[in-house]
């Protein structure tokens, strides 16, 4: 069983927060990661900034813009990841990255270095399963025991889910709503049924993300999802408080505690 898969259990739902690496700089984002893990993160998603993030909403777009104001290099990304990993070696780290930066770096080299830095899974929103590069990347990651985590959306039909199945491991990232990342007030009515179907097709844990921000939403969805992914709401705390690092740390830790405590199995 992969390190990621072992985080999930029937009795509790996992909390998976997200931060954009480099926002506002590469040193401080290590602090943010530390605060989130101390607050109860079970897996941490690390965003690699990209100039053209078409699957992201305004909060993460702005975070990437702030991050890219620092000199970008994949080696800095990998070094920062290693620092986070050395602080909390038992917490699985997952990259969320657009494909171009890793393709440009060379994905065999990237897979090798990411594994050494402590990465245990990859999410690539603009790399659908049915491309030649997925074939190659999947094999490269699999050799190193790194999971390729796929997105499934409300628009993904059953036949496509079955195609994705051959290339998916770790967990499934279920996109709760149409559109891009960002906080939303309402959650789709058929979410529970869709997640149930997804679980049946993949025989993998299914974590829900996109649009979740408040503890009560997280609590409700955690009744049937194996994990809760929160990106924009975490990133907004950094956007609003990043210039005051000690306050930002505190708010991130408190926020992580409030979400983690609300999840199925965590508040008992």
């Amino acid at each position: 069983m992969s390190a990621i898969k072992s985080v999930f259990s029937d009795s509790k739902s996992a909390f998976i927060p997200y931060i954009s690496l480099g926002d506002p700089n590469y040193d401080l984002c290590v602090d943010w990661a530390d605060a989130l893990i101390r607050g109860g993160a079970d897996i941490l998603e690390l965003g690699i900034p990209f100039s053209d993030p078409v699957a992201d909403g305004p909060v993460i777009q702005k975070a990437f813009k702030r991050a890219l104001a620092n000199p970008f290099s994949m080696d800095t990304i990998l070094e920062t990841t290693e620092k986070i990993h050395s602080l909390h070696p038992h917490i699985p780290l997952v990259y969320l990255t657009y494909f171009n930066p890793i393709f440009h770096y060379g994905f065999e080299k990237f897979a090798e270095k990411a594994k050494i830095a402590g990465i245990q899974g990859m999410i690539i929103p603009d790399l659908p399963y049915d491309t030649p590069e997925t074939d190659e990347l999947f094999k490269s990651l699999k050799r190193r025991g790194v999971d390729l985590i796929h997105l499934v959306t409300p628009a993904t039909p059953l036949n496509r889910m079955k195609g994705i199945r051959d290339f998916a491991s770790g967990f499934i990232y279920y996109v709760t709503s149409y559109g891009v990342t960002g906080e939303r007030k309402s959650i789709s009515a058929d979410l529970e049924d869709r997640i149930k179907t997804t679980k049946e097709v993949f025989s993998l844990p299914v974590s829900a993300g996109f649009g979740i921000s408040a503890p009560d939403q997280a609590k409700e969805i955690s009744q049937y999802a194996d994990g809760i992914i929160i990106g924009s709401a975490v990133q907004r705390i950094i956007e609003e408080n990043g210039s005051n690092p000690s306050l930002c740390r505190k708010k991130l830790e408190e926020y992580a505690q409030s979400i983690s405590g609300s999840l199925r199995g965590k508040n008992r």
Binding site: F50, K65, L68, N100, P101, H104, D130, D135, A155, Y178
Partner: protein
Amino acid sequence: MAKERNFTEKEGYFGDFGGRYSPEILTEALIELEDTYNKLRKDKKFQKDLEFYRRNYIGRPSPLTYAEKLTKAWGGAKIWLKREDLNHTGAHKINNTIGQALIAKAMGKRRIIAETGAGQHGVATATVGALFEFETAIFMGEEDLRRQKLNAIRMQMLGAKVIGVSSGTATLKDATSEAMRDWALNVSNTHYIVGSVIGPHPFPTIVRDFQKVVGDESKKQFKKENDKLPDAVVACVGGGSNAMGMYYAFLNDKKVKLYGVEAGGRGSSPGEHSATMLFGKTGFLHGTKTLVIQDDGGQVVPAHSVSAGLDYPGVGPEHAHLHSSGRVKYETVSDQGALDAFMEVCRVEGIIPALETAHAFRFAKDLAKELGKKKDILICLSGRGDKDVAEVARLVGLSQGDLI
């Protein structure tokens, strides 16, 4: 275990380029579009409708003009112009929007969206929005809204909502990203009319197919007039739709030299040009694998051109393939060269060309001398330059006094 899969041109690849690299939420819409288009392209009623609108609404076939004055002024090969500037709305863009609007209708979509740089694609989309009664939204970078105010006003008059995009460099690249985000949110009722031979499969194929009328007509007209084919064909390339449409008919005519002209901007440093073929590397942008201007970290570098329609840091994947196969030769012309050619074509031939096309003219001027008097050059005059007059006047320092 992963199954072995075979990726062929049929699935949207052009050699090593193309494909479908879009967020999962859009994939079904792209598959639906591909399936619908594959049915419609063989459907007689669809082809009849398309032909009807081409003839009676766009005003096709557009003329082939022998540019006698330019030929004389440049003192070399004969210059022929394919007059896409004479189409309704003033550019080749309407060829594609009419076609895609008919597809959107067939799919039962009520809303259309588009990205636009110079605004010609935005105007063409707003036009078909009015004609076919779609709710229409156009995404346009704030910087381009400044440069292309006239077209923004035209879009609004045609009933479209114009949405300014301030993210990134506030130009075409960012308008494209924003249109993709809107599509992800509204994919069930909205069709995204991509304006060039870019984007995820099937867009590069669909747009090329709707634009190939330019080359098909040119070939027929040129043959009728000269009983031969042109020696060289020249077109400007941003995303590359007018060029792709023009080349397609000539790809197998190996004696016809094909040239694409990109924006050399104001220099060779990153951010100063849009010369993707010269400076781009293989990468992934806006759902396709193509040549992309990017830095050492794989971040997309903002492009620049005096022409809002050319400043895109990528290029259509079929162009990337034609470049790597050597079938088409890609060149650059600077901002200043384009401005000079713009003014020259206005004064010599009595035609105000789009600034995009002015790049093609500037290159053709040198080519005409190189080829000599016995040869013929066909230029795709992709659009008229009304939209550019205020910006050009500002850049060349024409005051109102000079104009009187």
